[in-house]
């Protein structure tokens, strides 16, 4: 019985870290009533040195407009492979985009920063609309955007 418990404890200890390496994180982006057409939004992450680490979500499916998401476009050279499987519809004025993703634990408290670039037809492009460090303490705290984003929150 004792050996059985020891075995169970050992295997649980081995299994749990694997499960705990990712957690569901909800990214909530609320847009202002800016009165224009649907906004294209690029959500992406840079590492501690400011280098592009990867994309989390692209709102807006027409790649010809991605050049207006200027920082994202510069970082990725407009490579749509970066957003395969994580691309959806653009987001209308006054609406809220909620994306729930299983994010790697390694992204938190390690110097990574989440950025949002925004663009709207016939209106000014807004690179780095939101820039928020990914920390466990910062979860649930709204961050105000510069032009089109009313506020952005990530919840764990």
């Amino acid at each position: 019985m004792k050996s059985l418990l020891a075995t169970l404890a050992l295997t649980t200890a081995l299994t749990l870290p694997g499960i705990a390496m990712a957690r569901p994180v909800t990214l909530t982006t609320m847009l202002n009533n800016y009165g224009g057409d649907g906004a294209y939004l690029a959500l992406y992450v840079t590492d501690a040195s400011g280098a592009y680490a990867g994309s989390l979500w692209m709102a807006g499916s027409k790649s010809k407009y991605y050049k207006h998401l200027t920082d994202w476009d510069r970082a990725t050279s407009g490579n749509t492979a970066e957003i395969d499987g994580i691309t959806g519809a653009s987001v209308g004025s006054g609406r809220t985009l909620e994306v729930t993703i299983d994010l790697s634990d390694a992204l938190f408290d390690a110097g990574y920063t989440l950025h949002i670039d925004a663009a709207v037809e016939d209106m000014r492009d807004s690179p780095n609309e939101v820039s928020v460090p990914l920390t466990t303490d910062g979860a649930g705290t709204p961050v105000t955007g510069r032009r089109y984003v009313s506020d952005f929150t990530y919840d764990m």
């Binding site: 075995t7 957690r23 027409k62 790649s63 809220t96 985009l97 994010l103 037809e121």
Partner: protein, 120 residues
């Protein structure tokens, strides 16, 4: 003893089953080691398409003005903006929509689960 060994084998198998995809998802695209997930991805093209949201604002986005939302119109009339229109002539250069392929293996996504999206 036999029971313990059986239990050990079972839990080791379970650990491997959980750890392999997680380890794989943590690998970056630059890694020379081919991740398990890449092997397991064969045949995923046949996966069903999940519509995360029926509110596709693209129909309204970029509708008028100089950027010419309508791909066909832009290509057909050869407007200035259509010269760099990467959507002209087919779907080359377009990103795969959500749910049609797994998320990119960029090390950010913990286990390759597709995002769940809602627009309110």
């Amino acid at each position: 003893m036999k029971k313990t060994l059986t239990l050990l084998a079972a839990t080791a198998a379970l650990t491997a089953a959980v750890a392999a995809p997680v380890w794989s998802a943590m690998r970056t695209g630059n890694s020379p080691v081919r991740p398990f997930a890449a092997i397991l991805e064969f045949g995923q093209d046949a996966m069903p398409l999940f519509l995360a949201s029926g509110d596709d604002d693209d129909d309204h986005a970029y509708r008028s003005g100089s950027r010419h939302d309508d791909d066909d119109r832009g290509c057909e009339y050869g407007s200035d903006e259509s010269h760099d229109d990467d959507d002209c002539g087919g779907s080359a250069g377009k990103a795969a929509p959500d749910g049609t392929t797994p998320p990119p293996q960029n090390g950010l996504f913990g286990n390759g689960t597709p995002p769940v999206v809602e627009i309110n």
